[in-house]
């Protein structure tokens, strides 16, 4: 019976391996994301604060023109583990970087005396302002496709950080034989199925899909304050790191708590096992 089960297990594993490779080979699959080499993805890894700051700059100067981050507040930037955390500030709201960044944005509000709509400089408690007055306006300005909110983007895609990095740095000329519609761009990392648009060999449908976002990043588009060369690859990595942090700003705290919890449970397990052995010592079982 064990022999039979072993053979069955081998068969199941083989089937699983074959079917997953099949998904890549056939049309309808996207290219597997390249690794951005992100240290924060490991169980104990933390974010590189300099990288988060660079990533924020890319987001602020490039992405935020079209993409909202509705769930982010300016104060979050100054929290422990965040891009502008400053141990000398008494609170994130008191953080000078946060206050400066917030004040750069104009926030819609009302005049507290007259009730007239006004624009005022942002404060730490404000959310990142949305670039569009409403969803329809955002879609209308972008060929009908609303630029998705980036607040939780790294959690909303499989292998999020590497996916964002690969997508942003993965644009290239579409393969010959692929019909690309107006206002669309080919990206091998985008989900989709290219079979209906492919005139070439039906056995070799290119991976990937169409995306409405043009390849916006160009070398030197952003000037980094720390002197890092702003290549497309570098900017893609940095902004992927920033979006990953923004998707889960408590990740570092979570992992550190986890180490403590596991250490406690390990000791507790040892003590309980010792008690178990002692209590059961004289019982044959």
């Amino acid at each position: 019976m064990t022999h039979f089960l072993r053979r069955l297990a081998v068969a199941v594993v083989t089937i699983a391996a074959l079917s997953s490779s099949e998904a890549l080979a056939a049309g309808g699959g996207a290219k597997h994301p390249r690794s951005g080499g992100f240290a924060f993805e490991s169980p104990l890894g933390t974010y590189d604060q300099a990288q988060l700051q660079r990533g924020y700059k890319v987001y602020r100067e490039v992405c935020s023109v079209c993409h909202s981050m509705d769930l982010l507040s300016f104060r979050t930037l100054g929290e422990r583990g965040g891009p502008f955390y400053d141990p000398s500030a008494s609170s994130p709201a008191d953080n000078r970087f946060v206050r400066t960044i917030a004040a750069e944005s104009q926030i819609a509000d009302i005049d507290t005396e007259t009730g007239e709509p006004i624009m005022r400089p942002g404060i730490a408690a404000d959310r990142f302002p949305n670039p569009w007055p409403n969803r329809t306006a955002g879609a209308a300005a972008n060929g009908g496709a609303y630029p998705p909110d980036l607040s939780v983007m790294a959690k909303a895609r499989k292998d999020g950080p590497n996916y964002i990095y690969s997508l942003l740095s993965g644009y290239g000329d579409p393969p010959v034989g692929l019909r690309v519609g107006a206002g669309q761009y080919y990206n091998p990392y985008m989900a989709g199925d290219m079979t209906p648009f492919w005139d070439g060999d039906p056995e070799h449908v290119p991976p990937g899909g169409f995306i409405a976002m043009p390849p916006i990043l160009m070398d030197g588009l952003v000037t980094y304050d720390d002197g890092t060369v702003a290549s497309v690859d570098q900017m893609s990595k940095d902004v992927a790191a920033f979006i990953s942090w923004a998707s889960d700003p408590r990740a570092t705290e979570r992992k550190q708590t986890g180490m403590g919890v596991l250490a406690f449970l390990a000791v507790f397990a040892g003590l309980t096992y010792a008690s178990y052995r002692r209590i059961w010592k004289n019982v044959a079982h």
Partner: protein
Amino acid sequence: MSGHESTYVPKTGVEKWLDTRLPIVRFGADYLSLPTPKNLNYWYTFGAILSICLVVQIVTGIFLAMHYQPNTEMAFASVERIMRDVNGGWLIRYVHSNGASMFFIAVYIHMLRGLYYGSYKAPREMIWILGCVIFFLMIATAFLGYVLPWGQMSYWGAEVITNLIGAIPLIGEPVLIWLRGGPAIDNATLNRFFSLHYLLPFVIFGVVVLHLWALHTAGQNNPVGILIPKEREKKDTVPFHPYYTVKDGFALILFLMMFSVFVFFVPNALGHADNYIQANPLQTPAHIVPEWYLLPFYAILRAIPDKFGGVVAMFASIGVLFVLPWLDTSKVRSMRYRPTAKIFYAIFVVNAFILGWCGAMLPDAPVVPGMPSFTLFDGQLNSYLWLTRLTTLYYFAFFVVILPFVGLKEIPLKIPLSISEPVLKGPDAMSGAVPASPEKKG
């Protein structure tokens, strides 16, 4: 063990006063001193683990409900707000969302243990049936809860599952509207799902009390599967406390360590990335799948070409568990002594995993890519559709054909006279009460 006599003696005046009015301390003391077979292995610790899972879900759920907004405009953002801005909110939410998976891991092990050791057989039918009720309520609660974050899978999962109700002839359509609170899934649906998701865990709690009551009346089963005669009770049992509190406690801590690895290091590994995209009724996800623990039932649903037939099959796959005590004809409880049934049991476990795998795959996808195939009725033979059908067939056949038939034909191994016997003479010591041939069949 049934009719376990109370050994509690009230000591203080308060206890004496209380004992004649509401013997709640006696109840607790009797619970802890319950004579329990001393040969229970670690598979038997999942009952205690499950009770902790339920408490964890209820406690974290109550705190989540303090911050959650059951409104289609706000639900998604409120869950994110809990994880960003509520003190310890990320912990509460990740414990709750991963806790559901942990609950199901534990309940599946618990059920498979009961199946293997024949814990559903007389006199324990009520324990098993109440367990099935709990399992069914757990599925309902988990489904309702998964809708609450209002992500894409929440919305579309609710769409697919409520649509099934609409497939029921005659009453389907009105029931569907009643369930959704309108013609489509919307704010009314979310509101009532939240209300029911808060209610059902307390119903589960009530049924758990009945489950334990039945357990304490009929007595614990054990890996040998024999009833412990009154005269051997002293030799073969130990009081539940401290012997099993410490053993269950140790197993629980190991379980919590696995739980912690998920919560603290890979909190989203068991979920679907699409559920971090806010629900959009105008955009169907490429592939709608339920959470992993419902995949086998989702596979059974899709195995039947007719929609209503699929619904019937899915409910029947849970319903058949309720009548299991009367389907299994074997007088021997533990499969330790059932060489033939044991093989079918092993296949059943593997089959359940394959069913789950099928539930996650597209039905038309080939199982072995590139293998020549042909169309059988409505689909390629080499497709997940047909693999799902074969595994669904085995799932039902195991209960309604194999167990009744094997029970009649199988020659069981010799069963020890007492549960101490295999311990004292090594695991294979058989000197038997049941006159039977030790030869294996099948």
